[in-house]
Amino acid sequence: MNVLLVEDEARIADFVRAGLKQQGFVVDYCDNGNDGSDRALENEYDAIVLDIMVPGKDGLAILKSLRRQGRNVPVILLTARNELDDRLEGLNLGADDYIAKPFFVEELVARIHAVVRRSTGDRQNLIAIGPLKLDRITREVTCNRQVVELTSREFNLLEYLMRSPGRVFTRTQILEHVWGYDFNPQTNVVDVCIQRIRKKIDSIGGGASDLESVRGVGYRFRQPTHS
């Protein structure tokens, strides 16, 4: 998948490119709005990641000229300034999604996948790792073709881990993503929830061992040894 990244801050660009390449993306990168605009118009990308505040033509201007020329390539905005205003303006101008700094590359990858799927009309929303299959649309999880009954939070947690197998998530990260709490309310809710999911999967026939705890940090879904 080809992705254009327009981001003026070299060190942000570095880890974003590294993260995207690791996920198998081909990343084209430029550090100012004018070059970014030219490349976006000249080439066909599967998705464009635009920082709003870049020297030269800013992200919103690039987005506007793309849409004016009838280019429907999915665009994700990176915003640092005024989240609320940028969100409104960006979405009004036809951005497909926005993500506020600071963000996790993993989250950006998930968003890119989501907007690309949406733009190509891909109904494939299955994540299958080992015996576990997770359908994002029907929100159904099966293990060896048997349905695992999960609550909404449990499903979200499992999906969060399964969409980036091998990646370690801290408890705080999981709490933020699944429950939306942006603080640590002194709770072991994440551990309790993980245990419940494991129990439910085990009761059906195993595979819960893929849900690994990482000592002193958090959890991860074990990367399949062969794909």
């Binding site: 801050e9 060190r11 942000i12 880890f15 974003v16 590294a18 993260g19 505040m53 640092a80 300034r81 005024n82 989240e83 609320l84 205003d85 969100r87 409104l88 506020a100 700094k101 600071p102 963000f103 996790f104 590359v105 993993e106 609550t151 909404s152 939070r153 990646r167 370690v168 801290t170 705080t172 990260q173 933020e176 429950w179 939306g180 709490y181 942006d182 603080f183 640590n184 309310p185 002194q186 709770t187 809710v189 309790v192 929830c193 990482v214 000592r215 002193g216 940090v217 958090g218």
Partner: protein
């Protein structure tokens, strides 16, 4: 006590001023009229006394009855007459003469110069009358009398006129004053009231415009062309003030935007690289644990930056909401479900009305409710309770989240919404949170046209009430 209404003050002041002027004028003119009447009576008396010099020894009675006509007073005014001859014998005395004790006759006039010889009685009859006839007011049991007396060589003569008639006339004048002065005062007060209302109309216009300025933002200016000259300067000054405010607000909000950008860029780098390092570290190693902790701290830092930015936007009145219909009941029910996991040790009670819909920014409202619920968990007592109530009252959705707690001291109630405020310093170590949450929650509630309030102190519980306008059905 000072009257708060400017119009009322103006009206009362004008009425007071006009009233004292009128009363003063009335008193003086009343006095002048009285004096004028008395001196007219004196003049008549004088002429009568002069004429009395003619002998009418047998006609005193009829002369007395003519007097009232000749004096020009009303016929029923009592008049009394006294005539004494040169030897002190009373030639005539009216029946109603009561002034005996205190009557003094002026001395007899000097004879004409050049005729020093004593003249026989008849020759003196047409003698010149005395040059002065001082009239005086005497008081008897029958009232006040105006008495004129004259002494001729052969006769002493006095006329007394009762002052009742003048007093009656003065009473009429006084009642005219008593009626007309209050009427004029009422007119003056009414006029001043309506005039001051007229004068205040530009001020009211100004107030309306200023209200729209605060509602629509500082870019508004008060138009100065359609307003009276006297207010033009006020408007100019107000507009200048608005301009300065607008400039400093723009500066402040640009500053917060820039500051957020400046802070978020290094935070993004820090977080990205820590994350990368965390993934690359050996699983379960001490380094990985340390990196995990650092990552959590970066998340906390960025959450504080985000809240500060939102607060500064709210301060500048720029908190833009992407509003949609939000079903608060559903959100609350979900949160209650979470509570079972988040805080299994707490007893949860709920009274949530179904289908409470408000018009608002879903993400921000969830943030407010989460903040309240997490506070209720954080500041709870061991094995305490949480109560979540939501219902509609008139056009307002009221969401009350209460919990068992240490009492919040009364003096801290007004401070609890302050930024970085903590009720009890001892709490700081036990619970996390930057002390921005409640302040931000209240700003968000207010940006939605609602409010967030803390219930008055009660011994063992804390209760916050969030009020939001509901969606009209």
């Amino acid at each position: 006590m000072r009257l708060r209404s400017f119009r009322l003050r103006i009206a009362l002041l004008s009425a007071g001023l006009a009233g004292s002027a009128l009363i003063g004028f009335g008193v003086i003119s009343w006095k002048l009229i009285y004096d004028a009447k008395v001196s007219r009576l004196d003049a008549s008396l004088e002429s009568q006394l002069k004429r009395a010099a003619r002998p009418r020894f047998d006609r005193w009675q009829s002369a007395e009855s003519d007097l009232s006509r000749e004096l020009g007073v009303s016929p029923d005014t009592p008049i009394a007459l006294l005539v004494i001859d040169a030897n002190g014998n009373r030639l005539y005395q009216s029946e109603n003469w009561t002034l005996n004790g205190n009557l003094t006759f002026p001395p007899a006039p000097e004879p004409l110069s050049g005729s020093s010889l004593p003249k026989p009685f008849p020759a003196q009859r047409f003698d010149r009358p005395p040059p002065e006839l001082p009239a005086a007011t005497r008081y008897t049991t029958q009232g006040a009398w105006r008495v004129g007396a004259v002494r001729f060589p052969h006769v002493q003569f006095a006329i007394a006129v009762n002052l009742d008639s003048i007093d009656q006339e003065m009473t009429v004048i006084r009642s005219v004053f008593l009626f007309s002065i209050p009427a004029v005062l009422l007119l003056v007060a009414g006029g001043a009231w309506s005039l001051s209302g007229n004068a205040l109309r530009p001020v009211r216009q100004l107030t309306t415009t200023m209200q729209s300025v605060t509602i629509q933002g500082l870019a508004q200016r008060v138009p100065s062309d359609a307003i009276d000259l006297e207010f033009a300067e006020l408007i100019a000054v107000f507009n200048q003030m608005l301009e300065r405010l607008e400039r400093s607000f723009k500066q402040a909000s640009r500053f917060s935007g820039d500051a957020a950008h400046e802070l978020k860029t290094p935070l993004t780098i820090l977080q990205g690289e820590l994350e990368q390092a965390l993934q690359q570290a050996e699983t379960g190693s001490a380094t990985q644990q340390r990196l995990g902790h650092l990552l959590d701290e970066v998340r906390r830092l960025s959450s504080i930056v985000r809240k500060l930015l939102l607060l500064s936007l709210a301060d500048a009145g720029h908190m833009s909401l992407s509003k949609a219909e939000v079903n608060v009941s559903v959100i609350l029910t979900e949160m209650v479900d979470d509570l079972e996991l988040l805080a299994p040790h707490l007893h949860v009670q709920t009274e949530i009305a179904a289908q409470l819909r408000v018009w608002g920014d879903r993400d921000l409202l969830i943030q407010v409710l989460q903040n309240l619920v997490s506070n209720a968990i954080k500041y709870n007592l061991p094995n305490g309770w949480i109560r979540i109530q939501a219902h509609q009252q008139a056009r307002t959705a009221l969401i009350t989240i209460s919990n068992a707690s240490q009492p919040i001291p009364e003096r801290d109630h007004s401070l609890i919404f302050d930024r970085f405020y903590r009720s009890d310093p001892a709490h700081t170590r036990r619970v996390e949170g930057a002390g921005l949450g409640l302040s931000l929650a209240r700003e968000i509630a207010r940006a939605h046209g609602g409010d967030l309030t803390l219930a008055p102190a009660s011994p063992a519980q804390t209760a916050f009430t969030l009020s939001l306008p509901v969606v009209e059905a």
